[in-house]
């Protein structure tokens, strides 16, 4: 997008104020396997029965806090099925420093992902319909 009087359209439209990922504000999943903050969360943050309190639970607050700072929380980083996380880890692997960072390929995180199935809550995610193909 272009600029208007020195201010970019994204700034004018308010993109910069958004957290890195909006899911934990806009979405909430009350599932049999537990409460999830987003469709890619691998670990339930609370059992299903705690749907009322989990919305503002310390666990969800922490996830939001990281995202507001433009960072991925440990929770997100354990959700290896999440494309945001995958892209992040991929970037880390490609960057000269990231390649040295053992955490970018943490076996522990991968282990957790396997243990918990690594399954997003919302395998069937609605994205906006667009005419033609976009990637």
């Amino acid at each position: 997008m272009g600029k208007e009087e020195g201010v970019s359209a994204t700034d004018l439209l308010g993109y910069p104020n958004e957290p890195l990922c909006r899911e934990p504000w806009e979405s909430y999943y009350i599932l049999r396997r537990g409460i999830l903050p987003c469709c890619y969360g691998s670990t339930p943050i609370a059992p299903m029965a705690e749907w009322k309190t989990a919305w503002n639970s310390p666990a969800l607050q922490e996830i939001r806090r990281y995202l507001v700072r433009g960072e991925l929380s440990p929770y997100c980083l354990s959700s290896l099925g999440c494309p945001v996380v995958q892209r992040f880890l991929e970037q880390r692997r490609r960057s000269p420093l990231g390649a040295l960072d053992p955490r970018a390929r943490s076996p522990l995180l991968r282990g957790m992902n396997r243990l918990l199935g690594g399954v997003p809550a919302r395998l069937y995610r609605l994205l906006p319909l667009r005419k033609g193909l976009s990637r």
């Binding site: 970019s8 004018l12 009350i30 939001r64 319909l129």
Partner: protein
């Protein structure tokens, strides 16, 4: 395995010519061909695609002799169609084609008999699909089912129909006429086996063949010849510009012995059932939809986005609500779209110089409800935005753009008004809290994930399903009831959500209170997103869904019976019949539910990609959704199914391997006019914002 024949054109033929890149030859009055096979066959058929192309003053009769003995004769049609003759037993056939009349075209000195587009030989015992004998026009392959138009009467050879155990006949047919105007009779050996009243468009029909019509003596040919007769041709106005005498389109006819498949397919086309389904679309009380604003000042032209038709306002636009449309209704539902994410855009609505309401606009589409001034009368409402959509966000488009406005609805339901006001204000608050970086929220989520039903009708589970670990994770909650009462009990979490997304590991259409869940969602103005495997489509569930604000995601990942069997099971035909029934119900229901057909590209199904686009076009899907197979590290899932070894890790495609798939999708999307939504780009926008020091 198909037998290979060698066909040599001998004397009596003119040289090869081409039309639209396709070769053909004219014969003289008499022509010969030689047909040879590597090994002797019990019964060989010769099929000519021939005609006189409207050039001959009268239609000639063709007589065929094989190795000196007559094999039959038939009238050559004007337009290219099939003529088929039995060559008999053996592996070497000298075939003579003799025409009873010839003609010459002006300016062409040749003596012409017939124009032959192709000559094919078939081994009856090796047929893998039905063989059109006579009364058919040339095969066409640009639709989901490869098909031939039949005239009023046509004959066909169906393999395996006479095999012991075979009971049913499956026929994909497309009629251009409405319910039952055309009736197809199916005859065998002079006996009427069945009569099918045909429905408009493609449908799958399944016929129970009477016992006595199934000779099963050992050593007899397993294929059987059927004659199809229509009571009426397709009216010429249904195929303008096409001079042929057309009946209906018929796809590959198959014999089978699966009573469950028969029952499932049959249930969908029994007239009463389908009519009930199509009539089931719910009406919305006293509301009146005024459509997208079409008159009044300040509007840009009509456009369409993922939500539907809309118009951009300029800075100010006037919405006219005439008294005869409004009829004292008190509320107006306005779907508005703002591109701003920081709530910087507001719209003020005023009438007769008085401000009615000032609305903070949340990003994207939201419905805002406005109480209209009393009493009735013609109403001119001015919408004025405080800030325009930045011109730099739509480079190349010089228009003054305010907000998008969708189809406006008027109603008199106070509770609906209150609900819509709450929904919109929750969206605004939710966005405000997010923009502020709040971690404790007073607002509620706009999307609520729910888990309607924990059981599935696919057993064993789909090859890539993580059924066991998921059920283990669900533990005691596996049998927890989640229904309309549960959802209503979620209070603000339910009230505040615009979208309910079902994320069950299970099939939601099996839910015993599906009707109540749909009613609850409808009465609260929610959009419901349901993913289904398509095997739970029945006339009942399709009827329940007709006209509902539901986004269906049908996960097939296959466009053929064979691929479907590798991923799931042998219930392909029932799914197909259900989708065709759903197509009709959606037409009756104003396009609802929306239909999204999911395809996860994997080596197992890549050969089906083009056919999947054709399928989407046939069932009139709103979109084909390309979805990545879920990334799992070392999944260790290997399953044998449908003669295929599904190794999850091998099916995960790399970005490089996906490139040609995406390119093919671009081509097919344009060719078949199918919308494609790619879910491969989730996370791209976020990735552009990773901070260099993002923590691990």
């Amino acid at each position: 395995m198909q037998t290979t024949f060698n066909i040599t054109y001998e004397d009596g033929w003119y040289p090869v010519e081409h039309e639209n890149g396709r070769p053909f030859r004219w014969s003289g009055p008499r022509a010969r061909v030689r047909v040879t096979a590597a090994a002797p066959c019990r019964s060989v058929w010769l099929r000519l695609t021939c005609g006189v192309w409207g050039a001959a003053p009268s239609l000639p009769s063709l007589t065929v002799a094989v190795n000196g003995r007559e094999a039959g004769s038939a009238r050559v049609s004007e337009q290219p169609g099939y003529l088929t003759f039995p060559l008999g037993e053996g592996c070497d056939f000298d075939v003579e084609l003799q025409l009873d009349r010839t003609f010459s075209a002006p300016g062409d000195v040749r003596v012409l008999g017939m124009m032959v587009k192709s000559l094919d030989a078939f081994d009856e015992d090796a047929l893998d699909s039905s063989l059109e004998l006579e009364g058919w026009y040339e095969r066409e392959t640009h639709e989901y089912f490869p098909f031939c138009w039949m005239g009023r009467e046509a004959s066909v050879l169906v393999p395996a129909l006479a095999r012991p155990g075979t009971r049913f006949l499956s026929l994909p047919i497309a009629a251009e006429t409405g319910s039952g105007e055309q009736v197809l009779g199916i005859w065998r050996d002079g006996r009427l086996l069945a009569e099918i009243p045909l429905r408009r468009g493609w449908h799958l029909y399944d016929v129970d063949v009477p016992d006595e019509a199934r000779p099963a003596a050992a050593g007899e040919p397993a294929s059987a010849r059927l004659v199809l007769r229509l009571n009426a041709l397709c009216p010429p106005e249904a195929h303008p510009g096409d001079p042929r005498a057309l009946g209906v389109r018929v796809g590959p006819i198959e014999a089978h012995h699966d009573p469950r498949r028969h029952a499932q397919v049959t249930s969908f086309y029994q007239a009463a059932q389908v009519e009930a389904v199509c009539a089931a679309a719910p009406q919305n009380g006293d509301e009146v939809c005024c459509g997208v604003p079409a008159v009044g000042d300040g509007w840009n032209g009509e456009e369409r986005d993922e939500r539907g038709v809309f118009r951009w306002t300029r800075r100010e636009a006037v919405l006219l609500l005439p008294d005869h449309v409004r009829r004292r209704r008190r509320f107006c539902s306005l779907p508005l779209f703002s591109a701003f994410r920081n709530l910087a855009q507001q719209v003020t609505l005023s009438a007769a110089g008085h401000e009615l309401v000032r609305l903070d606009l949340a990003k994207g589409w939201h419905t805002y409800s406005v109480a209209l001034p009393e009493p009735g009368g013609d109403l001119e409402i001015t919408l004025r935005v405080n800030v325009l959509t930045p011109a730099s966000s739509h480079p190349g488009d010089p228009r003054e753009l305010g907000i998008r406005v969708g189809a406006v609805t008027l109603h008199d339901d106070e509770r609906r008004h209150e609900r819509e006001v709450f929904l919109a204000s929750n969206a605004v608050q939710n966005q405000r809290e997010m923009q502020r970086g709040a971690t404790v929220l007073e607002s509620f989520p706009q999307t609520l994930g729910i888990d309607l039903y924990g059981r599935c009708n696919i057993k064993p589970s789909c090859v890539y399903c993580l059924w066991e670990p998921m059920k283990a994770l669900e533990g005691e909650a596996v049998d927890e009831t989640v229904d309309d009462r549960t959802l209503a009990g979620y209070g603000g979490l339910f009230q505040g959500a615009r979208l309910l997304v079902n994320c069950s590991f299970g099939e939601p259409l099996l839910h015993p209170r599906l009707d109540r869940v749909l009613d609850l969602a409808a009465s609260h103005g929610k959009v419901l997103e349901l993913s289904t495997n398509g095997q739970a489509f029945t006339p009942r569930t399709v009827g329940l869904l007709a006209g509902r604000r539901v986004h269906l995601y049908v996960s097939l990942d296959a466009a053929s019976r064979a691929t479907y069997a590798r991923l799931r099971n042998d219930r392909w035909d029932g799914v197909l019949a259900g989708l065709l029934c759903l197509r009709d119900a959606r037409r009756a229901g104003g396009g609802w539910p929306r239909l999204n057909m999911v395809f996860m590209p994997m080596p197992v199904n890549l050969d089906d990609l083009e056919a999947y686009f054709r399928l989407c076009r046939m069932v009139e899907a709103d979109a084909l959704v390309l979805r990545p197979l879920l990334h799992l590290e070392h999944p260790g899932i290997v399953r044998e199914r449908g003669g295929y070894r599904f190794d999850y890790e091998r099916e995960l495609m790399t970005p490089t391997a996906l490139e040609p798939v995406f390119a093919a999708c671009e081509r097919y999307a344009a060719r078949y006019e199918v919308n494609v939504v790619s879910q491969f780009d989730f996370g791209l926008a976020e990735a552009s914002r990773f901070r260099p020091a993002a923590t691990l």
